[in-house]
Amino acid sequence: MNFKTLILASATSLLLAGTAMAQTAIKIGVLNDRSGVYADLSGEGSVIAARMAVEDFDAAGKGITVEIISADHQNKPDIASNIARQWYDQDGVDLIVDVPTSSAAFAVNEITREKNKIFMNSGAGSADLTGAQCSPNTVHWTYDTWALAHGTGSAMVAEGNSKWFFITADYAFGQALEKDTTAVVEAAGGEVLGAVRHPFPGTDFSSYLLQAQASGAQVIGLANAGGDTVNTIKQASEFGITQAGQALAGLLIFITDIHALGLETAQGLVLTESFYWDLNDETRAWSERFAAENDGKKPTMVHAGVYASVLHYLKAVEATGGKETEALMASMKSTPTSDPLFGEGMIREDGRKVHDMYLFQVKSPAESTGAWDYYNLLATIPAAEAFRPLEDGGCAFLAE
């Protein structure tokens, strides 16, 4: 390479860099479980969902270049916080999405606030993310323990199942779910006879099930998630718990769990979700595109939440013309949300995304037309009632 070509090359690259700078460059980090119990309900599917949001928004056509990176937090808060720090400090990440496992989500929540970036959570459950631990930098999109407890809990108590026993995963999420459901049950005049907290993740739940059986409760509330819930339900059927008349209330069940259980074991379960692929034409169309990229597996509500939250974020980037955190958060909260998966909704001041929730019942094998045709819709819980009222959350930064 002679001197003249070198000059030319440098000039060209400078020119290219110049045009790139005129655009907004966004870097999104999808942080979730890619190998453990929550990998199927979040994992690579969330990366696919984020990528679909970028394509559907036509970010490139609007002068926004988006790069998506991902990492495995192994459901451990310490690993999650290390990755989040590195992403914000060294890799120039602007937005972290997903983050299932509440304890890991709390860690990312803190760091995001400290670094003044944005965190849009889809995978985690604890309602404290927009309550005691709320942050002006966090949006909690898909569901939370309050909504699940009220959806499934109220429905079960209304049917006359007033005596409860909990099998709880012993970490932030499980405890929050147990606490929230206990409040619902007691408010409705029910009674909680006891609870057993199991190490997370677990394999054998028969011992806890026997304790639940001995308690004489009408309902066994499963305050756990993913593979733990699958194993608990499977073993409850094996030990004749459900046949003997006790009902199971799966407080957080994803469609991937039903897929793993099979309808024979799972039929009749009542559960609350904010998304199901077979709700309407738009969800069906989107889910079909998603499944084509995800080995034929339909999306969970967590995947849907990642898609919708990235879409809403990109709208704010377009509206504000930059990526300044305060402006983006203000824009996201002042603009109503609208997407094909959750319909119309809004983000409250405390960061809570508000939309309808749905009460489903799992179909029997005879009712189902095939793989992934799993739910009957029992009731739609309107957005206004689905989530904890703003004033009850105790979110501190709102008072400032």
């Binding site: 190998s35 593979g227 073993q235």
Partner: protein
């Protein structure tokens, strides 16, 4: 009616029995580990992955070829054991003259690769495998409802453990094996093919893990992480029992299953660590393990 620490005795019997069922898996797995360590001096870290493979091969046989559970009990240990033989011939046999650490690293690496491959192919949510019709349902024992399948697991595990112990401690073949570990050169001089014997021993240990995998398939979800969750506990069992002690592995396996079961009643939050607490105490008091001999 009297109560023991707030637990009615009937509930306690139930929990003891459940502990025994979990102990069956600990015993089968730690037995395989103990056989391999005792005769090959290899710490087989891929044991959990091989247990998982056992469950998966059973699932594949049923799903792709329609071969049922009973045939799987026979075929799966042979198939997975054969992969063990290949691994021993191609890789592990090159490490016998090196430190234990190399064998550990190799088998640990293999475990990660095997788990990764299965995770990539089948995801982590798990696959359904039904209890065979002959063993579905359960028996009411008065103090608890015992699913027939779990009863079968205890029986099968006790029989296999006893047969293995008997074969190694009481038969001529077992005597050759034990002699070969003491002094391979001398045993070789008597015209016995020592390398082949060692290869088959590794294959047998792996087959035991695969058998445990088939037994586990109908009750735990068949997923790529099922072995990784269990293997650390099983290593603790082997350490407590005494490295390489066959009888130690079996008795400690059942015993710790019961201890863990009781912890689940009295202090469930501690059930994940109780075995490691016991391991620490045993190591302090009796470093060679409960049934081990100091060399």
């Amino acid at each position: 009616m009297f109560e023991l620490l707030g637990i009615p005795p009937q509930a306690l019997f139930g929990q003891l029995l459940l502990g025994l069922i979990n102990g069956s898996f600990y015993a089968l797995l730690s037995l395989g580990l103990a056989v391999i360590f005792g005769l090959l001096n290899i710490i087989n870290f891929s044991h959990g992955a091989q247990y998982m493979m056992g469950a998966f091969v059973a699932w594949m046989l049923l799903t792709y070829t329609g071969i049922n559970y009973w045939w799987a009990l026979l075929i799966v240990p042979l198939v997975v054991g054969a992969t063990g033989v290949v691994i021993e011939r191609l890789m592990i046999s090159r490490l016998y003259h090196l430190d234990h650490l190399y064998g550990l690293l190799l088998t640990f690496g293999l475990a990660l690769i095997i788990q990764g491959l299965f995770r990539n192919q089948y995801g982590v949510s798990g696959l359904p495998y039904s209890i065979p019709a002959e063993l579905s349902g359960g028996t009411n024992l008065g103090f608890m409802f015992l699913p027939n399948y779990r009863g079968w697991v205890i029986v099968a595990s006790v029989v296999v453990c006893f047969a293995t112990w008997f074969a190694i401690e009481k038969t001529r073949l077992g005597a050759y094996l034990r002699a070969a570990t003491e002094n391979p050169t001398l045993v070789g001089a008597f015209g016995i093919n020592v390398p082949r014997m060692i290869t088959l021993t590794y294959g047998f240990g792996v087959a035991l893990a695969a058998l445990a995998g088939v037994l586990a398939a109908p009750i735990y979800s068949v997923n790529p992480n099922m072995g990784a969750d269990l293997i650390i506990v099983v290593f603790a069992v082997v350490v407590i029992g005494g490295m390489g002690s066959i009888l130690g592995a079996i008795l400690t396996g059942f015993g710790l299953g019961i201890v863990e079961g009781l912890t689940r009643v009295f202090y469930p939050e501690g059930s994940a660590v109780v075995i490691f607490v016991i391991m620490a105490i045993v190591l302090l008091v009796k470093p060679a393990g409960l049934f081990g001999r100091t060399q």
